[in-house]
Symmetry: D2
Subunit: 326 residues, 4 copies
């Protein structure tokens, strides 16, 4: 299903090369100041155009269809749409027959029995993260004064990200990266034990972002090599402040009053210019494929604002859930 959340629910729709894409937010309280301009900053950060990102540049002007009136949310469902304009679907016509390795083309074709909109990846396109970013703009307002900041901390395994991107571009190849998100100012007690743990809800959303291969909180995978005496974060005072933060700000599935810290692993973009072999559904044989279209050499460059968005969305829901039960 394409909706998620308990109280602050979001639902995505749209395809990369259809008439448009959008998001409906159901459960947004009334009276939140909101204008189309509020989306500019985050949508701009996601936008391509920088070195290492696709030359396909969309205007990405949000149209608020519903749920907003006189510059504020109304409390009714908030639908935000983006028209697709800069579409060159002819680039993708051969993808039906020669599915791109690493991409969803082949499984989408099989699962949806040939009825999926294959153009530009259709509903599987990373373009739909635009809708996540839009929803994140609203969610950020709801969890204020919590501050969220994500950044790319390595690319292609290197700290010198610009250098790594340049090398990939030169080779017509792509690289992955690690993005870290930190959120400060979260009160103790958001989240639920077990199935709505903060980690569960955030990871659920994070893994909905195409290209994410891993999610880790606080000490993450390095915890597997640590001892309890080193890993346990000593509690310092009645606010729950700890001397270290191996927990990444979460205890027992609940925020513990410390900074929320987590990282995601982004795989290298599947669409690359270098030639690859794949199975042709037309010829029934493995063939060479050269992907046309416009691609990102390092999609991870565009992920931080998406990661901030899904973090905000998760926290907005957990905040409302925690408050509803207090």
């Amino acid at each position: 299903m394409n909706s998620t959340g308990r109280i602050f629910r979001i639902g995505l729709f749209g395809e990369s090369h259809g008439s448009g894409i959008g998001v409906t937010i159901d459960g947004c309280p009334p009276g939140i100041p909101l204008t189309p301009e509020d989306f500019n900053e985050d949508l701009g950060r996601r936008k391509a155009g920088k070195k290492g990102t696709t030359p396909r540049i969309e205007d990405d002007l949000p149209e608020i269809i519903s749920g907003q009136f006189n510059g504020h949310t109304t409390g009714a469902p908030l639908t935000i749409m983006f028209r697709n304009r800069n579409v060159r679907s002819e680039d993708y016509t051969n993808l039906q027959e020669t599915p791109r390795p690493g991409h969803a083309d082949f499984v989408a074709w099989k699962r949806f029995k040939g009825f999926n909109d294959y153009r530009g990846g259709g509903h599987f396109s990373g373009r739909l993260t635009l809708c996540l970013v839009a929803a994140g703009v609203v969610a950020k307002k709801l969890i204020s004064p919590v501050t969220i900041k994500a950044a790319l901390i390595s690319a292609g395994g290197q700290k010198d990200i610009e250098k790594a991107v340049s090398a990939a571009l030169d080779e017509g190849d792509s690289i992955g990266g690690v993005v870290e998100c930190r959120a400060a100012g979260i009160p103790l007690g958001w989240g639920e034990p077990f199935f709505d743990s903060v980690e569960s809800v955030i990871a659920h959303l994070a893994f909905s972002i195409p290209a994410i291969k891993g999610v880790e909180f606080g000490s993450g995978f390095s915890a597997s090599a640590m001892k309890g005496s080193a890993h346990n974060d000593p509690i310092l005072d009645d606010t729950g402040r700890t001397a270290t933060n191996n927990a990444g700000g979460i205890s027992g599935g609940l925020t513990n009053g410390n900074e929320l810290v987590y990282r995601i692993a982004v795989k290298p973009t599947s669409s690359i210019s270098v030639s690859q072999s794949t199975f042709s559904t037309k010829s029934g044989r493995v063939e060479e494929l050269k992907v046309k279209g416009r691609h990102d050499a390092c999609i991870a460059l565009r992920v931080p604002v998406v990661m901030e968005a899904i973090t905000s969305i998760a926290l907005a829901d957990l905040k409302m859930l925690a408050e509803s039960r207090s």
Copy 2:
């Protein structure tokens, strides 16, 4: 909330030292052969008693309260309960005042305003994974002939797990580990794009297991250091079989017909015998704490069967969801 799933839904209840714990499975089809004996193997694998696990040993006899009749599931909600018997609550009486670092004691006390059942961690206890294992036994039947196998592949950062555990025991300390799960025989097309991607649903459940700090699929975090030309898995034939499996068996959020492979990072057990400092809510000062009670030196030893269970639960739901929409 303590329930999860779209069609094959599970809900947990109970506290570590209350009268019992249990799980209700809602959405199980009728006619699945099921007897209390079916639980023996997996419950036995989870059970403590081995070197490095807690000396608290419960009978863990499942009582099927409902949803089973004449040796088969009835199609009505299936509730399985376990009585708590081997309880030594007096071990935990001082935890109210001196919350264990790394454990949920402090946040639970704050969040639930002092009304939580603190004995043995209450509802936050790892004992509730017993219910996940029980639900997994049923889920495994539903996804047959898919085979699922999880194993501890490192402990304390070492491959020689037995040696690592011995060292931790000698020190009265604890160690973490990495557990890997592999599932074979999954048809192409389970899962959904975006919010019910296979990764999203599995990670949601995996992060509900106490002590999990990270989840990665296929190439996982190492993907961040790879190039697209190396990471993309070439498709070999019409079944979707690929030459490599960096995707971990998932493309675009859907199973792609290859082996599902993922790993979780388990932190070292919070409860250790070595002395630690923590904030005393009674004295209002940081004090030394020596945790009594019976603990695991390497809780990761008991995680594989739990990981198999949550994998089966996730796949059962996604299978039913995929089939409902085909």
Copy 3:
């Protein structure tokens, strides 16, 4: 929340005088033939213009934003939008201060703290039933060959509906009515005991239609005056066919193989031309109100196609749910 359904989920958005209204269907299988023309008949039946319905006539041309490609559903979320064009919001400017009796104006204003879009009833408008009808068009395809037919069986308490409407029009007043729906060809076994009983799911949707005051199945309220020996429907053969149909086609919350029969009571339209008294939030006193705007003398005339729609939506979800668990 504005979404409902387990597998075949629908979500509404939009306001009466905003930029548009729409519905997202999540969970529609791929490969269902669907074009904008498919909506003509049912949208036409709902449309005003007949005697006794509002002179506000919208084009009501559906725009399929997503989920459809090459004349078929894709399996991705299906969003259908309708632009609002024939809007005369100035008719409604005084409703903020003098809320219409019987309408949601006052409670919407209080609940949403003055931020609701009050124009034409905003999100509370009956105009949103257009979206239900659109979703119903899709749902009807999914449950084919089940046939569904609803009809107005009384208006203003009379069987001669045309005469009753004429009288109401003459008086500048409005009248209510009873609409009956019959569905044939439903297999035995859709629905669930207790919380997803056929009655529960249908009534949930029926009561989401503005102006509905009652829902009854089969013998309905008259059952309260009957004896068991007369009410029980004798089973005649192995298909479950019964001699009478007091059950209305439902036993134990599940379809029983007989015709589904239920009725809804529609109240008289709240907006009437005759003068009424209401509390003025501006003056703080009770004042006379003459409602401007364009209204229906008998909104029940337009309800049958909406009732067919929500019946189809409910059955589509229950069908998919039943099949997912068989």
Copy 4:
């Protein structure tokens, strides 16, 4: 599925003649005073034993399995169980072959492919309303100081209920009834437009009670014969108080600050002593059936406390939902 609710969720489990039945409440806030004795009054009201009710009398002692500690709710899932003791399953052995008309026996057997627990109606039994009443006891505490009172207002079509029941008993037959529920003290603004309207949520739960054939709010079915000028409730002051209450306390799906009033139609009990004809699945012919077992002549006598319970459950969820979004 057998769970319902957005924030205050309840899930039922159990069969009439299995080891027990129970309910899990997920989402109950911590700190609500709760002891087993709190259930006595409402469970006693539901209990059989009065004239016109079944001679099967169970102790119905609630066992609180989880979610309660030191006399208060803990905030963790609250599971309440009732053991089945006074079971005479031999009464039901022939029901497999000769399904009772008006009961779920036949459809349950077909839908669940013969695997359902048929004894005493199994999961379809009215005995599970015991769990609804138990959940209602908790819900009533959450919505305090709202007061809820339901009463049987007619039986067998007569106001002299005792006389009607006596007549039915004499004939070995059963009668239906109408139960009315009134709730006072509900603040304006609980509920949601469309899919979580107060009517939708209450009707969803009401129709989960076995034997309910109709639900109507305020003027109900009589509204269909009224004119708008008579039906509209004039608003009198800034609290939303109205001169009449045809709305039954609900406008636009939201509580409007006036008394909530609704009625349900209860059919006559299906199980009667007089001989009936039904299809025998054994002989393949229509045969005479004389239902053994212990039955209610007027099950409606026991419904008021169940109706109060489901009203409380619905309101508790809607209250928490409204407050979460304010």
